[in-house]
């Protein structure tokens, strides 16, 4: 029982970390960025290359890959989203342009890294098991939960307390009003993409470390769950994404424990479905009706 709670928290922290970056862009632009999973994947490969080929320490590679993820996010915004700004159908066309860029990213990864599953070299992270009562967790798992919480807290602080964060929130609220107030919208959005993709990149590296599996399609597995999490949490709500991430992790684990694993994803999507019916804007979604 205690073990399953730990399993759920661990799984949930991965979902949450993937989702907070995702929901940031969603909150600012009202656009689902289907390339988020590709940034997740590319950052994991970049960290892998730095550790395995350049023989750097993980503690150098992780921040470097996170930074690279953020930069890829800026490129992504220029390529797929900025040209669409102001177009009436930008939410659907943005979905498609981001999908196109994701395809290009995946092709590039396939070309450079090949289709096989790669992993970080043995011993990149100390292999230690920690006993918590009757349950066990690895040091890596605990670190991942810790890093996730720190990154999510940092993002929340950044958005709430800094000038840049306030600008991003102003753009999310109303681009027109933000412009009148003198906010450089292009810059604020680029920054949102940088933060979003950096977090996505961090999630990718941690995922690759935790599960020893990095491949060009690794992001596909988390994409749909991440989507479920940000919708469950409520449009653009960072705390919502965190809560929903952990909630989904726990729901999945307890479905496995009590109903059987074949029902796991059915239950996840059924929960998503019924939460939306009951609370059309998600758990912590803003009440103000904005048509997406």
């Amino acid at each position: 029982m205690g073990q399953q709670v730990l399993n759920g928290i661990f799984l949930g922290s991965i979902y949450a970390l993937f989702a907070v970056g995702y929901t940031l862009v969603f909150g600012v632009l009202d656009i689902l960025n289907l390339a988020h999973q590709a940034v997740f994947m590319l950052a994991a490969f970049i960290a892998l290359a730095l550790v395995a080929d350049a023989h750097l320490s993980l503690w150098v590679a992780l921040p470097a890959a996170v930074l690279a993820g953020g930069l890829i996010g800026i490129v992504l915004e220029r390529l797929a989203f900025r040209p669409l700004r102001g177009r009436a159908d930008s939410n659907i066309s943005g979905l498609i342009s981001s999908l196109a860029v994701a395809t290009v990213f995946e092709a590039i990864a396939l070309e450079i890294f090949g289709p096989d599953i790669s992993r970080f070299p043995q011993g990149t992270f100390p292999d230690r098991v920690i006993h918590l009562g009757s349950a066990t967790a690895s040091l890596l798992q605990l670190c991942i939960v810790g890093i996730s919480v720190v990154l999510m807290a940092a993002l929340t602080f950044l958005l709430a307390r800094t000038r840049l964060g306030r600008q991003i929130r102003a753009v999310a609220e109303s681009p027109r009003a933000a412009r009148i107030l003198g906010v450089n919208i292009d810059r604020a959005i680029a920054l949102a993409f940088f933060l979003s993709s950096a977090l996505g990149g961090a999630a990718g590296v941690l995922f690759g470390l935790a599960f020893n599996s990095i491949s060009p399609d690794v992001g596909r597995g988390v994409e749909l769950k991440g989507l479920a999490v940000i919708i469950l949490g409520g449009m653009g709500s960072i705390p919502g994404a965190v809560i929903a991430g952990f909630a989904l992790g726990l729901v999945e684990v307890f479905t496995v424990a009590h109903l059987g694993s074949s029902f796991r994803d059915v239950v996840s999507f059924a929960v998503l479905f019924f939460v939306l019916i009951a609370r059309p804007r998600g758990l912590l979604g803003r009440a103000a009706a904005r048509e997406a």
Binding site: L84, S93, A100, V101, V104, L224, S262, V266, F269, E291
Partner: protein
Amino acid sequence: MGDLLLAYQSLFAFVGINALLALSVYATLCCGQLSLANAGFMAIGAYTGALITLRAPAVPFIAVLAAAAVAPAVIAVPLGLPVLRLRGVFLAIATVGFGEVVRLFFVNWDYTNGAMGLVAIPQRTSLWTIALALAVTLYVLGRLRGSRFGYALEAIHEDETAARTMGIYTTGHKLAMLVLGAAIAGLAGGLEAHFTFMVAPNGYGFGRVVEMLVQAVVGGTVAFYGPVVGAAFLTVLPEVLREVGARMGLAPGPFRLLLNGAILLAVILYLPNGLVSLPAVLRRRVRRPA
């Protein structure tokens, strides 16, 4: 020449089937609703049709196809009533959830062999069956344009709240289009199942419905035939790229994926109204320098 036609006849069939699927997404898109339940509807149609053919081979094909279209349409009603209250991406994700539940149902259903699916389905679909189904669907959607019902849909597309205050029964109209879309997707599923000899749950995931949406939007949703253009373009493109790659002496590989993505991006950025607007855009370009 005959052989060449034979070599690509399946490609024509897939153009037709994908066109139907893109139209099924267009059906809800044209009243402003982004519903992504269609891979699930397609799965229901495909399995319904396949099961009838395998268990009762005497049933005529037209009846099998009718069942493939009706089954998802019937399910669309109780799905649509609660779901269509949702807007935008929330509707999209709720319907994605429905589609995943349908796929997982077939993954877990032993009667249809789970992941292995149903195999050895007799090939009953021919090119002209697909062409006929496409023609009928286009006729129905074309007739909607310009009709009273069609104007109501356009009004809902423009502004749902205003449409409701004008006295348009928005829920009914939206539901009707969801059901129509479900029927078209189910029909396409039934046709495909009897063309590809097999059905399996993996063919009906999230990726499939995204593909349908992409084809509809790339073709252009300003005209009812836009999705057909988009489906034709995006279905033929990988095969054209295969040919290009072979001519350039490239081994098959990721470059096809790469070009596919890049061309998709170019179309969506430079042709906001889809491929159907290409002639108008070209005309404008030509006129300007003159």
